[in-house]
Each structure stands twice: as C-alpha cells, then as structure tokens.
C-alpha cells in the first residue's frame, strides 16, 4: 500500500505483447488494476479500430443479458446472493457463451409468444361460454313472451310490421350474439335503434365477473347481447355496427341440442387450455430459473471482455504485425507485479515468445496516483472534488480525515444527536457487505452509504464537541456539579429574600462575591448557563473567538504544508520568496489577533472585567494606526502593532515580485543549471493549468496534457517574464484576499452551532412537550 502523504512515483513503460497472448496479458493487467494505457491511435475513428467486431459482439450479448434480467425480475425469481468475480473468458469460450445466450433468447421469446396466444384463446372461449349461458336465459324469457311477436309495444307506430307480414315477405329471423364492453352498450343500443328503426330486438345482460381485456390487460366488465333481426339487409347493417363497436361476435346456436353440444365442447377445450397454459408457465419458470444461476457471472464476464477489447483498441501494431505495442503508466513500485502479470498471461495463452516490459524515459507529467482503502477513499474523493493534486505533490487528504469531521462536529455540537448519527453510521459499516445495501439504485442512499466512514467519524467527533458545549438534545448535563452557587449570593452578597427577589425580574450572579464562583467546570461549559438569560451573549463571544482561532490554525497549517512541496521539487528559493511572505502576512495580522484573544483570556479576570478592552476596537485601531483613545492591553502594544502592520504590508510586494524577479535574474545570469529549471518550470506550469481545468478522475488526466505539452522539445524556450509575473500576481491577490475572507468564513462554525441548538430547542418545545 502506497503512502498517503504524497502521490506515487510513476514511470512510462512500453509493453511488447505477442499478438497471440495479448488478450490474456491484458486480462491479467486488468485484474491487477494499477496501470493506465495511453491511446496510441488517437486519429483513428471509433469505427475503424481493429477490434470493432468483437466489441459489437459484446454489446449484442449485453443486450440479450439485459432482456434476460428483465424477464427474470418480472417472473419474481430470486437471484443468487453471493459475490461472483469470474475472470474474462478466453476468445474460444466467448462463442460458447454467445451461442447459449442466443439460444436462451430465442426460446424465451417463443415461449412468451405462445403463452400470450394461449391466453387470448382462453379468453375467447371463456367469453363464448358466458355468452351461451346468458343467452339461454334470454331464449327462455322470450319463449314465455313468445307468441306476442305480433304486438311490439316498443316499436314505432308508423313502421309497424307484424311477424306474419314479415313472413309473407320471406324475411328470415336471424340472430347475432356476442359481447361488448359495458361502457359502450348504451351507445350501441341507441345506434341500433336509429339505424334499424325497430327491425331489431336487442336484449342484453351483464356478466358478473370481470374479464381481462386483451388489449390493455385490465379487468373490465362486459355485457352479453343478443340481437334478433329480420331480413338480410338489416343483418348486414347490424353486423357493420357490431364491427364499429368492437364487439366480440360468436355464432349463435340454432337449437337447444346444438347449444348443449357447443357448451360441452367448450368446457373440454377450456380445461385443456388451462392445462397447457399451466405447463407453459412451468416451463418458462424452469428456463428462467436455470438462466438465473449464471446470469450474474455472464454479466461480469461480458463487461470484462468489453473492457479488454477497448484497451486492445488503444494499442498499436508494429511493422511485422505480430506484436502489439502499448504505452502504459505504471507505478514504479509495481513494476515487478507488472512483469509477473505479463508472464502469467503469456503462460496462460501458451505463447512461445514471452511478452516483456521496457521502461522508457519521458518528460511528460505522469498521472497522479494515490492508493486508498475503503476508509480513506471517501476523504480522498472529497479533496479531489476541489482539484486533483499535481504529480508528486503533498496530498492534503490524510489531514482531512481529522479536520473535516472535526469542523463538522464544531458546527453540530450535540451529544445526543451525535450518538444517533454514530449508531446509524456504525450500522452501515457493520453491514457493509450486505448485497442489498451495496447495490441499491437509490441515489440518496448511495451517497450516505459511500460516506459511511465519514459519517461515523462525524458522529464520534460530535459526541466530543457535544460534551464540550455541554449540549445533549439542547439540554445541559450536570455531570460534575456546577461551579456557580446561588446560595453564596445570599450568604456573602447583598441579596435578601424579600426585597431582592420580589422586586427584580432578572438577577446577576457576581463572581467577585466569595463563594459564588468555585472554579471552572472540569470539562466543557458549566451547566448553569442553560438557565441563564444571557447565555447567548456568553456563548457567542466564546464560539466566535474559538472559530477564529481554529480558522487561523487551520490556514497556517495548510500554508506550512507547502514547505514539503518546495523542498521536494528542489526550489529552495520558493521558501524565501513565497512561503515566508505568505506566513508573515498571515501571522502578523491574524496571528496577532489570536494572540490578543488568548492574552485577554489570560490577563483579565472577573475582578477587572469592567475595564477589559474590546479586541475588535484594538484590531481596527491597529490598521488605522491610532492608539490613543483606548487604554492598551499591554505595555508597548502600539509600537508592536505598528511594527507588525509594516511587516505585513512589506511582505505583499515581496510575494508579488520576488519570484518573477529572481527567476528573471537567474535566466539572464546565464548559468547552465537554468536549463533544467526552465524546462521543468515550463512543463510543470502547463500541467498545472491543464490539470486544474480538468475534473478529477484518478487515472485519466495524465495522458492528454502530456501529449499537448512540450515534451519532446528540449529546453529552448524563452523565459516568459510576463506570463510568470501575471501568474504570481494572481496568486498574490488570491492569497491576500483569501486570507481575509476565509478567516471571516470560519465564523460559520459559530453560526451553525448556534442555529442547531436553537432549532432543536424549538422543535422539542413545540412538538414533543406540548
């Protein structure tokens, strides 16, 4: 495991892979997971690369696997729980998998289609049965009404034609029967009435049970109807109307015996269909069950295969076309592992000529690699969100492991809530191997789960700061006994039971009276402050000063970390021309503020608290160079302040001009060692700018800028004073303004802890205790 302090040392290597064993070698390198390939064919289109057909085949397999997974999920078949990590299959096995997948797909689609057809058939037969059953009732009913065909009370008077006259005209009585959806029956009836003008009789009745609509799959209510009509033309019209309303028309049996036969036949057919459907569903489940055992293995295998072909596309063939050349960034410490991986790959593919590795020198900036484990990766991600460090720069992440949760805890500061947060994070950490938790698709949950260690640290630190602020669900805990005693105000002070208590709404405990203040609380804020009405005045002062102290310390630490960078890159002049002015500016102004805060805490006690000066006024006076109106904090304060302001003001031009002027002088001095500095400076500056423009992706960014930068040219460029000066002036302005604004923004530590306490207090008083 590499060091977290600084990014790893990388080297550029060339791999010569024999074409027969290229696939296996890349597979081994992929399992190792520590190298970055450079694209050796940047000008070639995606579709013209060498392994395009194989990639297409992989994508086809992915499509089939997606279809399989959907079908398995739809059938509610449980998928295997264990972690599988198969290696990529050899090219000869790929065809086997492909064939299996295609066969599965064909079988599945066929079976699904058959099932749908059978279900449709079943629906039709069911409807027919219903229709026959219900129309039997119609016939019985109309048989009772029977010979009253001559009088049709519901026919219009003017178009009345009785049965006998119809018979004389040779018109035959015809029947049309079928089913229609319930919501259409009224419109249907009205249409029939208007079109056929009473030459038809419609009787209908609703079916009790819900039948599934074949188009939408929803259960709908249907109505069985029976139309009796005279004459062929009427019959045609009726048929057309039935078509319009999407009725399912079934043949109407002419006699009772025929009806009974049809019903019998239908019953047997329905039973047969049920059996067949059952068997089909069983078979489908069997097929899916068998597929579900290995579907995850296939998914991972196909993914790995696709990745290998993608990498193979990045390599180039040499002139003899027998050997693949790849350029790879590899950590120096991992070179033996790389060699071993290539040997393994060659052995597996049974190649006669081994593939080998050759380290080549390069002037390009290598990519930044920082090895992390599951604990540190969260913090590293947070830091990289602001920007990825340059090659071999000091990594700020290990310090954020402590400072980030600590600053959160300073703002959160509640013991009870901290415990709950820590327990929640502990649960996530203990169950981190649970598959359900790891692979859920909920975005918000994923964010929490990825940061489980961060949340655990934040919770634990919050418990600590909750103890310091003495805040547990916004109430104080009295663990050690308060240091203030009210009784002493009566005994030794001038309070009396009658006059003082009855006439004053608020009373102040005076710590100068003996016995009132018995010493500070051992750990944290005294619990009596929770009962005090001037609690916020006290806490605000405390928290604001604490925020400023924490902020200045944090910023100074960051600036001091730069020492390691300057020393490592061999630029000692940076220490005197950049670091020293920066530190002086920061410490002379804000470090002095911190000093004043601590001095005031130590030098002034309760006895002379009336005369304690305001630090804010002194700080303002320092900049305005006035010192006469207010008594000094300590003797010689005015002189010291003037001295510090002068030093801070002088350090700004040194920061602004020192480095460019020095480098210009060096350049024009003409020494030989300039060459190395200049070239390195140039390369470094290019990569700085380009890296700061690109997003963090821990292995990806090395290749592009190094291609664009002046890697192949040697140190022939002019030293660009204007460019250097501009860069340095931007840095100066950024630093000075940043000092001031960042110090002020550390006050959010105070603001948020205030808001948290008030928020929870209001919540409890409004919701729970009412």
């Amino acid at each position: 495991m590499g060091s977290l302090f600084r990014s790893e040392e990388m080297c550029l290597t060339q791999l010569f892979l024999q074409s027969g064993s290229a696939y296996d070698c890349i597979s081994e390198l992929g399992e190792m997971g520590m190298v970055e390939f450079r694209d050796l064919n940047p000008s070639v289109n995606l579709f013209q690369r060498k392994f395009v057909t194989e990639l297409k085949r992989c994508e086809e397999m992915e499509r089939i696997l997606g279809y399989l997974l959907r079908e398995i999920k739809r059938a509610d078949i449980p998928l295997p729980e264990g972690e599988v990590n198969p290696v990529a299959p050899l090219p000869k096995h790929v065809l086997v998998i492909m064939e299996q997948l295609q066969r599965l797909e064909v079988e599945l689609s066929e079976v699904t289609r058959n099932k749908e057809k059978l279900q449709k058939n079943l629906l039709e037969l069911t409807e027919y049965t219903h229709m026959l059953r219900i129309t039997r009732n119609f016939v019985h009913r109309s048989a009772e009404v029977g010979p009253t065909y001559e009088e049709f009370p519901f026919l219009e008077k003017d178009s009345m034609m009785d049965y006998s006259s119809m018979q004389r005209l040779g018109a035959k009585l015809g029947f049309i029967s079928g089913l229609i959806q319930r919501r259409k029956i009224e419109a249907f009836e009205r249409m029939l009435w208007r079109v056929c003008k009473g030459y038809t009789i419609l009787s209908y009745s609703e079916i009790d049970e819900y039948l599934e609509d074949p188009d939408t799959g929803e259960p709908t209510k249907s109505v069985v109807f029976l139309i009796s009509y005279w004459g062929e033309q009427i019959g045609q019209k009726v048929k057309k109307i039935c078509d319009c309303y999407h009725c399912h028309v079934y043949p109407y049996p002419n006699s009772n015996e025929e009806r009974n036969d049809v019903v019998e036949g239908l019953r047997t057919r329905i039973q047969d269909l049920h059996t067949v459907l059952h068997r089909t569903e069983d078979y489908l489940r069997q097929v899916l069950n068998k597929a579900s055992e290995s579907v995850y293995t296939w998914v991972i295998q196909v993914k790995k295969m696709k990745a290998i072909y993608h990498i193979l596309n990045l390599c180039s063939f040499d002139v003899t076309n027998k050997c693949l050349i790849a350029e790879v960034w590899c950590p120096v410490n991992d070179l033996p592992i790389l060699r071993r991986a290539l040997e393994e790959g060659s052995r597996k593919s049974g190649a006669t000529v081994p593939s080998f590795v050759n380290r080549i020198p390069s002037n390009d900036t290598p990519p930044t690699l920082i090895r992390t484990n599951k604990f540190t990766s969260g913090f590293q991600n947070i830091v990289e969100a602001y920007g990825v460090g340059n090659y071999r720069e000091v990594n700020p992440a290990p310090y954020t492991i402590i400072t980030f949760p600590f600053l959160f805890a300073v703002m959160f500061g509640d013991l009870g809530h901290g415990v709950i947060m820590a327990l929640f994070a502990l649960w996530m950490v203990l169950y981190e191997d649970n598959r359900k938790l790891k692979y859920t698709r909920n975005e918000i949950w994923n964010t929490f789960f990825e940061g489980r260690y961060i949340i655990l640290m934040m919770g634990l630190f919050s418990v600590y700061t909750g103890l310091i602020y003495n805040d547990c669900f916004s109430k104080s805990l009295n663990i050690f006994g308060s240091g203030w005693s009210v009784n002493a105000m009566f005994k030794s002070g001038n309070w009396t039971w009658d006059s003082t208590l009855r006439t004053n709404a608020f009373l102040t405990l005076d710590p100068n009276v003996p016995g009132v203040f018995n010493g500070p609380y051992p750990l944290g804020i005294d619990p009596i402050w929770n009962l005090a009405s001037n609690r916020l005045t006290f806490l605000n002062s405390y928290k604001m000063k604490m925020s400023v102290i924490v902020g200045i310390s944090h910023m100074s630490f960051g600036v001091i970390l730069g020492i390691f960078n300057h020393l490592h890159f061999g630029k000692k002049f940076n220490l005197y021309l950049v670091l020293l002015p920066e530190l002086l500016f920061l410490l002379c102004l804000f470090g002095y503020l911190v000093f004043m805060i601590i001095y005031k805490w130590l030098a002034f006690s309760a006895r002379d608290s009336q005369m304690a000066p305001s630090i804010l006024i002194h700080f303002i006076n320092m900049f305005l160079m006035q010192g006469d109106g207010v008594p000094p904090l300590f003797p010689g304060q005015v002189g010291l302040q003037v001295f510090l302001v002068v030093i801070a003001l002088l350090s700004v031009p040194v920061l602004l001009l020192g480095k460019p002027v020095y480098l210009y002088w060096l350049h024009n001095g003409g020494a030989n060692r300039i060459g190395m500095y200049r070239g390195y400076e140039r390369v470094r500056r290019h990569s700085e700018e380009e890296l700061s423009l690109m997003r963090a992706n821990d292995m990806e960014e090395g290749s592009v800028p190094s291609d664009l930068s002046t890697s192949r040219e040697q140190q022939k460029e002019e030293f660009d004073f204007g460019d250097m000066f501009l860069h340095q002036s931007i840095h100066t302005i950024e630093y000075c303004l940043g000092c001031i604004s960042n110090t002020a923004s550390y006050l959010r530590l105070w603001a948020l802890s205030l808001a948290h306490a008030r928020e929870y207090q209001h919540t409890t008083s409004n919701c729970i205790l009412y």
């Binding site: 994508e59 499509r63 696997l65 997974l69 449980p78 998914v299 993608h310 909920n442 009962l531």
Partner: protein
C-alpha cells in the same frame, strides 16, 4: 373475518421506529423530571401564584415536576402500545406477502447492465 391489516409495510416500519424513539426518550425525560433536574424548569407549568402561595417552598414546584414526570411515563406507555400495534401490523404484512407467494416486501433492484458504458 375481515383482515386486521390496515397499514402497509412502510407505515408499519415507520411506526416501529417512531415508537422506539418515543419510548426511550419519554422514559428518560420522565426519569429526569422525577429527579427534578433544574435544566427542565422551563417545561414545568408553574405560575406566579404557585410560587407566592407556597407554604412549604419548593413543595409546589416539586409536585408539578412529579406531575409532568408521570405525564411523560403515560406518554411512553402510549408509545409502547403504538409500537405493539405497528409490530403486529408488520407481522400481518409479512404473513400476507408469504401467502401471496411474494417473499420480499422491499426489493432493492440489483445489478443492472449499463449497455452504453465503456
């Protein structure tokens, strides 16, 4: 017999979590009120009259403290009941799902293919 189930799986889980928090918090509050902690003075409903007419100070205030403490314990008991009801509902939900052949009531969808990732 009509089903006793009236809430779904998520509401049952919600009920259980809230009941556990409520029971723990209210029991602790009840204990602290009975111990007459000074910090909780703002939540005790006393008036000016109570203080002025007190024959045996601070007896009235202590009595009020005890009263609020007992209220907290009663509320905790109610939460226990709510928790028991939620637990029963949760069991009924699981039993119903088992009968319907569906063995997972929360399904997190698992590994999915990204067909257009590199």
């Amino acid at each position: 017999m009509p089903s006793l189930l009236f809430c779904g799986p998520k509401m049952a889980a919600c009920g259980i979590v809230i009941s556990i928090w409520g029971v723990i918090m209210l029991v602790m509050l009840g204990i602290f009120f009975s111990a007459k902690s000074a910090v909780l003075i703002e939540d005790v409903p006393f008036t000016e009259e109570d203080i002025r007419n007190d024959k045996n100070p601070p007896g009235t205030i202590y009595g009020l403290y005890n009263q609020v403490g007992i209220n907290c314990f009663i509320a905790a008991a109610i939460y226990v009941a709510v928790g028991a009801v939620s637990l029963c509902q949760g069991h009924l939900v699981i039993a119903r799902n088992w009968l319907n052949g569906q063995h997972y009531s929360f399904r997190f969808s698992s590994l999915d293919l990204h067909t257009n990732s590199g």
